[in-house]
């Protein structure tokens, strides 16, 4: 009897208003937190790599000598290793990714065959990097080694080619999904116009679909390149961990930006060495972010058409 209904409602209203305020505050600030997280990553990498920048200056970027004991830190060998493995991987994976994308985006959009290939791609994307690396170490490197010895070279087995092949396999599901999406974006009236003129499927693909989706396929390539640059475990396991410029651009053991971090980080002796590895992380972050933004922009522009 002590409280009237309006008083009770008033109390409820206050608690609702409080919850309402709290919830909106939480929502906005979580979103701000996400933005700060990304900014924080960039700033942390910048601060962390500052000592090595001060020590080596721009030589950190283009120096070809990496010797932690002599405090010489030049990233060129890793940049070269990264670019070689990533581009070689893209070249190897191109025909496979485009075939799969055509198959799923044009040949079989539905049905058993589409389901089979969709599941294969999903499985490929689901296998962890470390298992790809292990499989390559067991199956691929001995075969590369025997190929090398038959060519009269030192039979390392591990090296740029091994890493590129593993990377190529890992990039296929990613490139395929981007390329498939842009292939399905091709307007049906163009496609049907070509068919109605009597074009074969090959001609439709060659003269309408591929020209129309060229930008999207390149965007897929950029996004896959971003992936390939940053891929760590599989590459670390088969690249051979060599800190000098590769003598042979196909077979030599090498190191990528990512693999040199994975190999050296927990064993770094000095804080300068650690800072140099964080510097490699900064380069990696900037490279993959730029490729990511570029690729996404191209796709967005295509979708807007």
């Amino acid at each position: 009897m002590s409280k009237t209904t309006t008083q009770v409602q008033g109390g409820q209203m206050r608690s609702i208003r409080f919850n309402e305020g709290l919830f909106k505050w939480l929502m906005t600030n979580s979103a701000v937190l996400l933005i700060l997280l990304l900014g924080g990553i960039l700033i942390t990498l910048l601060i962390g790599s500052w000592p090595v920048m001060k020590h080596s200056g721009f030589g950190f970027l283009y120096g070809s000598n990496w010797d932690a004991n002599a405090e010489k830190f030049g990233s060129l060998p890793f940049l070269v290793g990264t670019v070689l493995t990533a581009f070689m991987a893209l070249i190897i994976s191109f025909p496979f990714s485009i075939s799969l994308a055509l198959l799923l985006g044009e040949f079989y959009k539905k049905g058993i065959i589409a389901d089979i290939f969709k599941n294969i791609i999903e499985l490929m994307a689901g296998v962890p990097s470390v298992i790809y690396g292990f499989g390559a170490l067991y199956f691929l490197t001995p075969r590369i080694a025997s190929l090398e010895s038959s060519l009269g070279m030192p039979a390392y087995g591990v090296g740029i080619l091994s890493a590129a092949i593993v990377l190529a396999i890992m990039v296929v599901p990613y490139w395929t999904s981007v390329a498939r999406e842009v292939i399905t974006l091709t307007p049906n009236d163009i496609r049907e116009a070509a068919y109605s003129l009597g074009a074969t499927r090959f001609e439709v693909i060659r003269y309408t679909i591929l020209p129309y989706t060229r930008a999207g396929i390149i965007a897929g390539m950029l996004l896959s390149l971003g992936r390939a640059l940053g891929e760590t475990m599989a590459v670390t396991m088969v690249i051979g961990n060599a800190n000098e410029l590769p003598k042979n651009i196909i077979f030599s053991p090498s190191n990528t930006l990512a693999s040199v971090i994975a190999n050296g980080f927990t064993e770094a002796g000095s804080s300068l060495h650690l800072s140099a590895l964080i510097g490699e992380g900064l380069i990696l972050f900037l490279l993959s972010t730029v490729l990511n933004i570029l690729g996404k922009q191209i796709i967005k522009r295509m979708g807007a058409k």
Binding site: L34, G48, F117
Partner: protein, 284 residues
Amino acid sequence: MKEQKRTLNARIISDFIFNGLVLLISAACAVPLILILYFIVSKGLSSISWTFLTNIPKPVGETGGGILNAIIGSLILVVMASVIAIPIAVIIGVYIAENRNTRVAKLARFSAEILQGVPSIVIGIIGYIWVVRTFGGFSAISGSIALAIMMLPVIVRTTEETVSLIPGSIKEAALALGVPYYKTMLSIIIPSGFSGIMTGIIISVARVAGETAPLLLTSFGNPFISTDPTKPIASLPQLIFNYAMSPYQSWKDQAWGAAFVLLTWILLISLLSKFLTRRWKIQF
């Protein structure tokens, strides 16, 4: 006329060859996958036994070593990462979907896109600097924070996509009945999008369960069973890495066994997500 027929034949043949090539090259993509699955099943199954699953590693040469420490470690890491990432990520996703055109939402969505492309080893460096260095040692919590950072963008984007597909009329109906905004979000909008949000969560869990690179720099590994979040902890992917790179045959065999366990786990999680999407899909 003859000329025309010849070119027609050539066109038909080239079409035929092209179709065959596309099918053949596509089918070739399955070869590495089949090889890896074959190795894992043929070599992994033979090293799996009850002792393998319920014992911790023993020194090289002794038989009966297992991977229990890594199984428990991986479970702890993934559960802790999920607890950290899921609530924040779902709220961010709802925020972006609800405030589509504000500057904060646009920036947050952009950040999620960029964060998704950041290499996992870089996230490992961040976990090392932010947590390991601050608290003076490798720890399970630093590993799960690194994994949580990797889960965030995936869940944010699937939540955002799901929530923005829910018709505005549902939200308006709730608000018109006097339901407070936060209750509308928490007990109407999020449950309506449950299957989509859950799929995002499961995909992100499957993705970080096999993640190795960030753990090398954060949770470090531990040959014993540990449940203390402030101490180093073992994990399945890292154990596979260490054993695969070791020179001992017995460890390599065990790595196949661990790979079998890890892959089975990831496949089960993915199957669960497919089941959930079908079962709890709400059609609008």
